[in-house]
């Protein structure tokens, strides 16, 4: 305890804390205002056009070389399948990166909704991944490197859309599985994903995200009464590459009606900014406490040693 006085140590600790607290949020704020790559691609999903043919599921299965389904893709009885006491409809899993569900809104015709990764501008999965397995590519896809995935499943908890699935069936190398926007085989080459390609109704419109926003609003304007006046995903959670138009309120077709416009990282940035502080300052601070404590009781050390010796002798008797 000769190199540093108690006063200097405490002063440095306080200064360090203050510096981290003040500097932290400013840095993170910059990352939470990212609104997507300028030429990032996206898909506009028009729920008024989908007829529930499940062709997108079939095309996805083939393109991504997924295992055989339990039932053929033209079996429409899957729309009756529910989970968890009838509340939960089908969800994407390790064998199906996309599923179509049917909803029966009040006083309206059935509405079909395709579920898959929405490829957020600021993905919560990416923010939460501590091995950096996720990447938001400039084409707009949120992809992941399964070679570095350690299977911690944090992204499954972080995703506001409950999209990433886990290969529970793999005993030796379980990893995360989800829609990658056909990045490797199509998007990278400027091609639309397989689901868009096969859709007979053009319920899925592929294009630059910024153009899809214009197209979405044009559809709402030119078809009064056909849509609710909202383009879901334009602003939600910092914006998503996949966006939706619906004929009824979004909560009637399984969407979280108000997830907020802040990306998930905004909710955790205050906490995350304290992590470096804890990692950098706590070791120094507690080492300081330890050394101070040690110095204070320095004179008693011999007494302790003596007591210990006595104890040992007692044990031998």
């Amino acid at each position: 305890m000769s190199g540093i006085s108690r006063r200097r140590f405490l002063a440095a600790s306080v200064a360090g804390c203050a510096a981290t607290t003040l500097a932290g949020p400013r840095k993170v704020l910059a990352s939470a205002t990212f609104t997507g790559y300028p030429d990032g691609m996206g898909v506009l999903v028009d729920l008024t056009r989908c007829v529930g043919c499940r062709s997108c599921e079939a095309a996805c299965n083939k393109e991504q070389k997924l295992p055989a389904p339990d039932r053929p893709f033209d079996d429409m009885s899957v729309f009756d399948e529910t989970f968890h006491g009838g509340k939960q409809k089908r969800r994407p899993d390790e064998n199906a990166y996309t599923v179509v569900n049917r909803y029966n809104p009040e006083n309206a015709a059935p509405v079909y909704r395709k579920v898959q990764c929405n490829h957020c501008n600021e993905p919560a999965c990416l923010s939460s991944c501590f091995v950096n397995a996720y990447t938001k590519t400039e084409e707009g896809a949120v992809v992941y490197n399964s070679k570095v995935c350690v299977g911690c499943r944090t992204c499954m908890v972080a995703c506001p859309f409950h999209v990433p699935a886990y290969s529970y069936s793999s005993a030796l190398d379980p990893v995360i599985k989800k829609c990658i926007f056909c990045y490797d085989t199509r998007l990278k080459k400027g091609l639309p994903p397989a689901c868009v390609d096969i859709c007979p109704q053009e319920a899925l419109t592929f294009g630059k995200r910024k153009d899809l926003i214009k197209i979405g609003h044009q559809r709402i304007e030119t078809h009064p009464g056909r849509y609710v006046d909202h383009l879901y995903g334009e602003k939600e959670l910092g914006g998503t590459s996949w966006m939706y138009l619906a004929p009824v309120a979004f909560d009637q077709v399984g969407f979280d009606p108000n997830p907020g416009n802040e990306p998930i990282i905004s909710h955790v940035k205050d906490f995350l900014s304290t992590v470096p502080m804890v990692l950098a300052i706590w070791p120094a601070m507690f080492t300081g406490f330890h050394l101070l404590a040690k110095k204070q009781k320095g004179d008693d050390d011999h007494e302790h040693d003596a007591e210990k010796q006595h104890g040992d002798e007692g044990g031998e008797q």
Partner: protein, 171 residues
């Protein structure tokens, strides 16, 4: 001009008129092959002649490009005076590869373009055909119009034998 010359001219004129109507009839196909999904589904041999006899105006399908023109308010602000165009086939406006890089760049680069959302050929067919068939009790099932190819059967996994789910199955 002798009587013989007059007769010849008259016959020539009649022949020309007759030829003209033959050309017009030949322009309007009796049958159109709709082949946007031939990989997985057989092409649809669309009976154009039969559909023209249903008595609908041509513009019911061809918008403002032929027939009496459109009455849609959104369209007539620009197309009220539009004349019939030379090529009225669906594919002359609705491109098969709607989502090709070229098409996406046309939308992206032209800020004055109004038709930024023109449906592709496959969607144009399905919307036109199915919406009308629903009203007129025409066929609306996928394979009512186009049978699936063996490759289509493979895509939809006809090989798996899971039985349909009983109504409202819970897990």
């Amino acid at each position: 001009m002798s009587a013989k010359q007059t007769l010849t001219t008259l016959i020539m004129a009649l022949v020309l008129i007759a030829m003209g109507s033959v050309v017009a009839a030949a322009d309007m196909p009796d049958q159109v092959s709709l082949d946007t999904m031939v990989k997985y589904f057989d092409s649809v041999e669309f009976d154009h002649a039969m559909h023209t006899e249903l008595g609908e105006d041509c513009s019911a399908c061809h918008h403002h490009t032929t027939g009496t023109g459109t009455s849609d308010e959104r369209c007539i602000s620009c197309h009220a005076e539009s004349e019939a165009v030379a090529d009225v086939s669906c594919r002359s406006c609705h491109v098969a590869a709607r989502f090709s890089a070229d098409q996406i760049n046309i939308v992206s680069s032209n800020v004055y373009l109004y038709h930024i959302d023109k449906p592709g050929l496959k969607a144009a067919y399905h919307w036109s055909c199915v919406s009308c068939h629903e009203q007129m009790d025409g066929p609306t099932g996928c394979q009512d119009c186009h049978a699936r190819t063996p490759e289509g059967d493979a895509l939809y996994r006809e090989d798996v034998s899971g039985s349909p789910i009983a109504e409202a199955t819970e897990h």
